[in-house]
């Protein structure tokens, strides 16, 4: 029995392959303009990594998720990414009760129950201020190679520079101005990370953040955001080894369940 979960988000496509309940392979690729080929390519890569023939026809069942889930032609079923994240995290960390997932354009906070069921959730509205996109914009103007590379730099700051703007576009200007005023780069970078964490904390203020808390999504690779999330929520966040694939993993688990039900 070979099933796959395919998660196509704003920035990356992720595929996880399960065979008889075990993770056989996974892949993560950036999404270009052509969403379908990104999903296809990522799935074939995952198959190759699993040592299988790289054709999506080999799958017995595929669940797609992520904002482009409807466009994945080889999927048998689509499921929203929040459900998939919850399922994937529950599989990896059964004691998890709270998830912050920060992706390219969305951020979500999810409260989960003992069975991995969703108790409550919130997701950002029309605002990129608490998302990976915000960090990418900032990495660019602060001349850091990538969003991930900013994290360690942020950890070196003793006095994060406050970034007050609520809007990504305004915040960009704000950082440019602060840079021009000669503020220390690492303090600025730390400020940016703190701002992201605080936006998400406000969004999730009405949910119960209970341990074990887990941080997933592309942004979870960033140690700076993790640190400030922990300060905001006053709790430790676990980050899975591959924080980007929990959605795809959840989708694959749902695919497996669907197949067993048949």
């Amino acid at each position: 029995m070979l099933v796959a979960g395919v998660d196509v988000g704003a920035a990356t496509a992720k595929t996880v392959i399960l065979g008889d309940g075990r993770i056989l392979g996974h892949a993560v690729n950036p999404v270009g303009y052509d969403i379908k080929s990104a999903a296809d390519e990522t799935s074939r890569e995952a198959l190759r990594k699993a040592g299988l023939s790289p054709s999506t026809k080999n799958f017995d069942y595929v669940v797609s998720t992520g904002y482009a889930r409807e466009s994945i032609e080889f999927a048998d079923k689509t499921v929203s990414e929040i459900i998939c994240h919850a399922r994937g995290v529950h599989y990896l960390i059964p004691s998890a009760r709270f998830i912050i997932d920060m992706g390219g354009q969305d951020s979500k906070a999810i409260e989960i129950g003992e069975e991995g069921n969703i108790v409550d959730f919130v997701m950002n509205d029309k605002c990129a201020a608490g998302t990976g996109r915000f960090l990418e914009v900032m990495a660019h103007i602060l001349h850091v190679a990538s969003m991930d590379a900013m994290g360690p730099l942020a950890l070196g700051s003793k006095e994060p520079c406050p970034i007050s703007s609520t809007c990504t576009v305004f915040a960009e200007t704000e950082v440019v101005v602060l840079r021009a005023r000669g503020k220390d780069r690492k303090d600025l970078i730390a400020g940016v990370h703190k701002a992201v964490a605080s936006r998400v904390a406000v969004m999730a203020a009405n949910l119960a953040c209970r341990p074990v808390a887990v941080f997933t999504g592309g942004v979870a690779k960033n140690a700076g955001v993790k640190k400030y999330l922990e300060e905001e929520f006053k709790t430790e966040f676990l980050v899975p080894e591959e924080p980007q694939i929990t959605g795809a993993l959840g989708a694959a688990l749902i695919a497996q369940a669907q197949l067993l039900r048949k």
Binding site: V79, S80, E81, N117, M123, D125
Partner: protein, 465 residues
């Protein structure tokens, strides 16, 4: 000899003779609206895709909206005195004006444009843009109903009215946008002012002077309307207008009964067509709407009796505030995700759920004001949330989609409170959903889908399905 639009009109419940009779008016109004043969295929497929046109009542309802559109567009040519009001409407004054003179046309043009140019023709975008260019720019969370109204006037699609009845009892935006219409087109305004100063914990009680105040303002607006329009309000106008619209109210109560069935017999998009009509038209639209409603409810009772519905039996049941006035794809979102919607706030407030008025008032203005008070609109945030709470038991709900309209301040006051309150009081899950129910350019079905689907999954899991 038929014409290019015959197919669409018969899909929208027009009889052959009706089309023949209406032909010159259809053509004259379509010319102003910029609708031509090229629009028909898309309109027909849109109507069939999003509306349950297997029901005659639904086809007739769509037809009622089209008739209202034609009358609106041609009101000036018809030599009528034109009065516009805002939504949510206090309908009573409009009905009284209509009952006093057949030369008066009273309507909510924004709602008419939304339901026709939006829902049927998918051509609302340019109208909204014209509104944005004429004083109501984007990016400021201004009301998209007003953008449609001012845009429609600016584009010459709908006439400049003779009088604006400003529903300022509820909304600050509406009365100010009426000031804009005065500044742009010199239209006189009759303000219907009200004061929403209820205290938290006051509902279902309310200060009698609050009803008296709104009532007096309605009566004053009527006097102004008499002057501006050069008519005399008939002494029995109130009784007659009540009598004319009574079937609609009776039917809303009947509809609430039908919607208690599992599976639900009809979708939110159809409820929306009907509820919105009841708050938007005072003329032919509402009269045709009453006929359509009779047919529809009869059909729905048949479905319920046969155990038929549009969803699976046992599908999670939710209440929402309202469907989308201009984009049925957004309205359909809930059912697409497997959620049944037996009740909306509008239906609850106009139909069986609201508290009964005490009936202590004598003047038409006060009677109308008390009705608005007990329906929750005029009372405020708490009353509105309590209607949801009350509906949970009545409609056997499994959860709420607590919409708040980002660009409608009177509704946005409910934003965070409703979720917290309803979760505490009913123990049911609540999805807080920021939305624009009049314009889907920024809040499209695609942008809302993830939230709604996740919530649906949550409810299904809770129900053990």
């Amino acid at each position: 000899m038929g014409s290019y639009y015959d197919g669409l009109f018969s899909l929208c419940g027009f009889e052959h003779e009706e089309i023949e009779k209406e032909r010159p008016r259809i053509e004259a109004s379509f010319e102003k609206l910029g609708i031509g043969p090229g629009d028909m295929e898309a309109a027909c497929s849109r109507v069939s895709r999003y509306h349950d046109v297997s029901l005659e009542g639904v086809r007739k309802l769509l037809g009622a909206w089209l008739k209202e559109l034609i009358d609106l567009v041609l009101a000036r040519e018809d030599g009528r005195k034109i009065v516009y009001f805002g939504f949510p409407a206090i309908l009573g004054p409009g009905l009284m004006l209509c009952a006093s003179s057949e030369h008066v046309f009273v309507s909510a043009p924004d709602m008419v444009l939304d339901h026709t140019m939006g829902q049927i023709f998918n051509k609302l975008g340019p109208i909204l843009e014209a509104g944005e260019a004429n004083g109501l720019p984007p990016g400021h969370a201004l009301c998209s109903l007003w953008q449609a109204k001012i845009g429609g006037i600016a584009k010459g699609m709908i006439p400049v009215p003779d009088l604006a009845l400003a529903s300022s009892y509820y909304c600050d935006m509406g009365s100010k946008a009426d000031d804009l219409v005065t500044a742009l087109y010199g239209v006189p305004i009759a303000y219907i002012d009200g004061i929403m100063d209820s205290e938290w914990g006051e509902y279902p009680g309310y200060l009698p002077e609050r009803v008296h105040y709104l009532g007096a303002q309605i009566n004053k607006a009527m006097e102004k309307a008499e002057k501006v329009l050069g008519i005399k309000i008939a002494p029995d106008a109130w009784q007659r207008s009540r009598k004319n619209s009574q079937p609609f109210r009776d039917n809303l109560a009947r509809l609430t009964e039908v919607m208690k069935a599992d599976p639900v017999p009809v979708g939110l998009a159809e409820l929306e067509l009907l509820e919105a009509l009841s708050g938007s038209s005072t003329g032919r639209g509402i009269q045709e709407g009453i006929k359509a409603m009779n047919i529809l409810i009869h059909e729905l009772e048949g479905r319920v009796e046969a155990g038929l519905g549009i969803m699976e039996k046992g599908a999670p049941r939710i209440m929402v505030r309202l469907g989308h006035t201009s984009d049925p794809a957004v309205t359909r979102l809930y059912e697409d995700a497997g959620l049944a919607v037996p009740l909306t706030y509008i239906l609850a407030s106009r139909g069986g759920v609201a508290v009964k008025p005490r009936g202590n008032y004598g003047t038409p203005g006060e009677i109308i004001a008390e009705y608005e008070m007990t329906g929750g609109y005029y009372h405020g945030t708490e009353a509105q949330i309590r209607l949801y709470e009350k509906a949970a038991e009545l409609m056997k709900l499994d959860g709420f989609v607590a919409q708040y309209l980002y660009n409608c301040r009177p509704v946005a006051t409910i934003s965070h409170i409703q979720k917290k309150y309803l979760e505490e009081k009913t123990g049911l899950p609540v999805l807080s959903l920021e939305i624009d129910n009049f314009d889907s350019r920024a809040y499209s079905a695609d942008s809302l889908r993830t939230k709604v689907e996740t919530f649906a999954e949550m409810l299904r899991a809770k129900k053990g399905r």
